[in-house]
């Protein structure tokens, strides 16, 4: 039968090299270049195709909003938003004051003993070390505020994300309905939704919690759904066969068996939320994020130290939740009655100890925060000295960073920027659409056209193209770094072991923290953003490429070896071609991540779309800020569609 089917298929003629996909993409690029040289600066986005009044309308809308929000008797709509903002603000405020009332002794006891009870001694020591680090950095109070903010955001994200995830795990239809929304939430750079959130919730801790939640809910939903779907079907079927109702199946079978992934989703939600701390600092989320954002210009050393504190918190929370997940796993614990009794006594002892610590702290007036001694002044001096050193034109560091920065500007940013901003706009729109068509298919191409048109329509074409050029330079550098390192990590266990801790730290650092040192290292306006973007995106690309190369079927590799291929041949002719989907996914993710940093760099002189958003936030130019946010969103979607490839659908179906 199979033979018959095969016979029916027409034999594909080998297509000539000039019809291969890569060659066609290159041809499109060549066409765009031709258009650039032929009609440079002649066809800029026409004013007739922009909607200039939109910005004013938005400003009017914002004025109307703030007028109506603050009247004596606001309408139901405003009361709902105000109420939500107040509720969130109060929640964070309540948590913060709880930590302060416990005094620093009580808070430390709470954290360490809870981790000790559920996560074991090692994790508890890590937590203690984190508290000590906050004290030593002199950042106890902002750390507690940040923790309260994160805790509130995570709790609410999970309260929304876990039930939706369970629903998505149990219903294919709901999963299909919610996936595009989750995709969109993850493509949009966080910077782009700051404006709308601020307009609806006004600046404050409420807005900070909402921003964090938008970012942290998608992973909670996705991982939970994955966990529910990962429960062996035969167990679910067995429960059904014994007459279990849907609720019984969920509570007695699916949730307990999905436990590992449910806890992973808690863990990931915490890390995602923490990575938003700095951005939340921009819109009134106090704490460490505030220290970072306000310190960028006035006190960069302190901002860097605060960034370090965020990393310490992220690592401590990550380790603690992981330890708790493993230690409390019933399938590996095999509890006996006597063990259970001992644990119960231990729990009671911990509770008493926490109460005692809080009581003693209050009795002896320990104070809400640790204020006595800190190494902050010393740390600050050291960091500042380092920053001064790299900035000094007499040192060798300067002789490395300066030429590198200049090189990137001269041969990367400037030519690309002029190409993107000066090329005739139809060539740009249709060129990108064609590339999207060639790489990803018809629908992505149409979406690309629509999104680019949107950028033009909201009068952000030049800024958008400027941002695009920065993104391309950043992504190119990311790929130059990421692909070789990824392949190396896949090929050598030693290399992988060496890279892992570095990548871990890089992935937990909040985006803005990357930028700070490079403002000093490479004092050329656009470069810090691009370099920071590369550092931010490279770990993910390295991991994707490494995973892709490592997952290449061992049979194919073995077969190649059996034919006498050298290691280089195996790599070039088998592994890398077979890992193409993973590499393409790396390009896609890299673009999105680079975009998210490049726009944040608008805060520190990268200009373009990010600058417009920053202006909107800082100067109250709401209309312009919202439009720039819209353009960022459109660019994000367009970049995603151009490079999503034909394989994503297949990968999605497999998952």
């Amino acid at each position: 039968m199979a033979a018959v089917d095969a016979a029916r298929l027409p034999v594909a003629a080998p297509s000539p090299w000039w019809r291969s996909r890569n060659a066609l993409v290159l041809a499109v690029v060549a066409g765009m270049l031709l258009a650039f040289f032929g009609w440079r600066n002649e066809l800029l986005w026409p004013a007739s195709l922009t909607w200039n009044a939109l910005s004013h309308h938005l400003d009017d809308f914002q004025t109307w909003l703030s007028n109506n929000r603050n009247v004596a008797h606001p309408s139901v709509f405003f009361r709902a938003f105000n109420g939500l903002a107040d509720f969130l603000d109060n929640l964070v405020g309540w948590l913060t004051s709880l930590f302060f009332k416990l005094t620093w002794i009580g808070t430390t006891a709470l954290g360490v003993l809870v981790v000790l009870r559920f996560g074991g001694r090692k994790a508890a020591l890590g937590t203690l070390a984190a508290f000590a680090a906050f004290a030593a950095m002199g950042l106890w109070e902002p750390s507690m505020r940040t923790f309260a903010l994160t805790f509130a955001a995570v709790a609410l994200s999970l309260a929304i994300g876990l039930p939706l995830g369970v629903l998505a795990g149990r219903s294919d239809r709901f999963q299909r309905a919610i996936t595009p929304l989750l995709d969109a939430m993850q493509i949009i750079p966080a910077f782009a939704y700051l404006m709308p959130v601020v307009i609806l919730f006004s600046v404050g801790r409420g807005a900070a919690v909402v921003t964090t939640m938008i970012y942290a809910i998608p992973p909670a939903i996705r991982i939970t759904a994955l966990g529910i779907r990962g429960v062996p079907t035969n167990t679910v079927e067995a429960a059904t066969a014994f007459g279990a109702t849907r609720w019984q199946t969920l509570l007695k079978v699916q949730l307990p068996l999905a436990r590992r992934l449910l806890l992973l989703s808690v863990n990931q939600t915490i890390l995602f939320a923490l990575s938003m701390v700095v951005i939340a600092g921009l819109i009134g989320g106090q704490g460490l994020g505030d220290v970072v954002t306000s310190g960028i210009y006035s006190d960069p050393a302190l901002a860097l130290i605060a960034g370090g504190a965020i990393v310490v918190m992220a690592i401590a929370l990550d380790r603690a939740t992981e330890a708790m997940a493993i230690r409390t796993d019933p399938t590996h614990r095999h509890l006996t009655e006597s063990k259970k009794r001992r644990l119960r006594i231990f729990t009671a002892a911990c509770a008493v100890a926490i109460g005692l610590a809080a009581g003693l702290g209050n009795a002896f007036g320990a104070g809400s925060s640790w204020m006595r001694w800190s190494a902050q002044p010393w740390l600050r001096r050291q960091v500042q000295a380092a920053l001064d050193y790299v900035q000094n034109p007499d040192t060798f560091v300067f002789h490395i960073t300066n030429p590198v920065g200049n090189f990137i500007v001269k041969y990367g940013l400037v030519p690309l920027q002029s190409f993107f901003t000066e090329v005739p706009w139809p060539a740009m729109v249709f060129g990108l659409a064609l590339i999207a068509f060639l790489l990803s298919g018809l629908r992505p191409a149409l979406v690309t056209v629509a999104m680019l048109a949107l950028v033009g329509l909201v009068n952000e074409w030049p800024q958008g193209m400027d941002t695009l050029s920065q993104v391309l330079v950043g992504t190119l550098l990311t790929m130059l770094v990421g692909i070789p390192l990824g392949v190396w990590a896949a090929e050598s266990r030693r290399a992988e072991r060496m890279m892992r801790p570095v990548l871990d730290v890089l992935q937990t650092l909040p985006q803005l923290v990357y930028i700070i040192p490079f403002i000093y290292l490479m004092p050329v306006s656009l470069v810090p953003g691009v370099i920071a973007a590369v550092l931010y995106a490279a770990p993910v690309v390295i991991r994707l490429v490494a995973a892709g190369v490592r997952e290449v079927s061992p049979h194919a590799v073995e077969a190649a070896g059996a034919f006498g291929a050298t290691r280089a041949q195996v790599l070039l002719k088998v592994k890398i071609p077979l890992a193409r989907d993973a590499i393409m996914l790396g390009v896609n993710q890299g673009l999105i991540m680079v975009l998210s940093v490049v726009v944040i760099a608008g805060l520190v002189g990268s200009g373009a779309l990010g600058y417009d958003v920053a202006q909107g936030l800082n100067r109250g130019l709401f209309g312009q800020g919202v439009l720039a946010s819209l353009a960022i969103l459109a660019l994000g979607i367009a970049l995603d569609r151009v490079t999503q490839g034909r394989s994503r659908k297949r990968l999605g179906e497999m998952a």
């Binding site: 062996p232 035969n234 167990t235 067995a238 429960a239 014994f242 007459g243 019933p330 095999h334």
Partner: protein, 356 residues
């Protein structure tokens, strides 16, 4: 040649006078988007590959009818993809049948409401699965008590019952262990215990021993035979292993491409295969281990009725020594009445037939 033990069916009596406990009539299961439009039309006669090409449908079960009597062990045998696992799932609507009628213990399953169906699954049937389907996060005893827990039985009561059943399958020592601490064979014993704990009328086995290695599999078959003797449950047993089917089944249905190609006792299958497909299956089975005297006897001639007597249900293998050592043909007896005789020639022919 495959070694097969004597059929186990001699040990228990099947009550065929009562109503059948399970009745399946013209059951169809078609997978695919246009599944509803196939059954009842001439299209249903298309072969599997034609159906797939023309309608993008797969007929997993085609027009299957059978009845199972109380205390009977009914085996469905077929290769992978023959539709046997789908068939057993349609019986309690773990997979919805596309068409047909199913009745279990007098209740119409096909038209049962969700609540009725749940009651049926809780109290009337229970199932043993190929990959055990145990809950990794619970102790063995809690796994065994799972069905009772679902029914809402109180904790002390269900644990007492679970302990009882664990004793029945010889696992009383490991009640506090977790499934992953047990071997595959022991895990499936837990699966058996879980199914027995709810005291069902009907036990459904979906290839319960396929995942076990051959020695353990034999132990487990013995276990099922023993439990069958002790509890007299009605069983529907799915397998792809012919020796297993012959060993356990009172009657066996052989499935191919979703349809039953032959339904009969082990002797029927081995003695008179319905077609080439079944014949290929049973070719390696030593006939003398399965066939009984009924298959080789002839009508007695006058004067032959006073030879040595043997029950007509004795297998040829067991009868060989008596027949070979006797001067006169051996009489096959049913209910104290001579129904036929077997001579040496008949035995030799039966044994010679094995080497074909």
């Amino acid at each position: 040649m495959v070694a097969v033990a004597e059929t186990a069916s001699l040990g228990h009596e099947i009550d065929r006078s009562a109503e059948p406990l399970i009745r399946a009539r013209n059951v169809w299961k078609v997978f695919g988007r246009n599944a509803d439009k196939i059954v009842g039309t001439p299209e249903a006669q298309l072969s599997r590959s034609e159906l797939r090409a023309k309608h993008d449908c797969v007929a997993a079960v085609r027009d299957v009818s059978f009845e199972v009597w109380p205390r009977e062990v009914f085996v469905v045998m077929g290769l992978s993809g023959s539709g046997k696992s789908t068939l057993v799932r349609t019986l309690i609507r773990l997979i919805e049948p596309t068409a047909g009628e199913i009745e279990i213990a007098g209740q119409d399953v096909t038209s049962a409401s969700p609540t009725e169906l749940r009651q049926l699954r809780r109290h009337t049937s229970s199932m043993v699965f190929q990959h055990f389907g145990l809950l990794a996060h619970r102790r063995v005893i809690d796994n065994v008590a799972f069905g009772l827990e679902i029914q809402g039985v109180s904790k002390s009561e269900r644990l007492a019952r679970a302990e009882e059943v664990l004793k029945l399958v010889g696992l009383e020592e490991v009640g506090n262990s977790f499934p992953d601490q047990l071997s595959g064979g022991m895990q499936q014993r837990v699966g058996l215990a879980r199914a027995f704990a709810v005291e069902p009328k009907v036990m459904l086995y979906d290839e319960p021993f396929s995942a076990l290695d051959p020695l353990i599999r034999r132990d487990m078959q013995d276990e099922v035979i023993r439990l069958q003797h002790e509890t007299g449950k009605t069983m529907v047993f799915i397998t792809h292993d012919l020796p297993e089917a012959l060993r356990l089944g009172d009657r066996i249905a052989i499935m191919r491409d979703g349809a039953i190609v032959q339904l009969g006792t082990p002797e029927d299958l081995v003695g008179s295969p319905a077609d080439e497909y079944v014949e290929n299956f049973v070719r390696d089975i030593p006939r003398s281990h399965v066939l009984t005297l009924r298959w080789i006897m002839r009508d007695p001639r006058p004067g032959e009725e006073d030879g040595p007597r043997l029950d007509v249900r004795t297998t040829v293998r067991k009868a060989v020594s008596l027949i070979a050592g006797s001067e006169r043909p051996v009489c096959a007896v049913e209910d104290d009445r001579v129904v036929g005789v077997c001579d040496k020639e008949a035995v030799l022919t039966a044994i010679a037939g094995e080497s074909d």
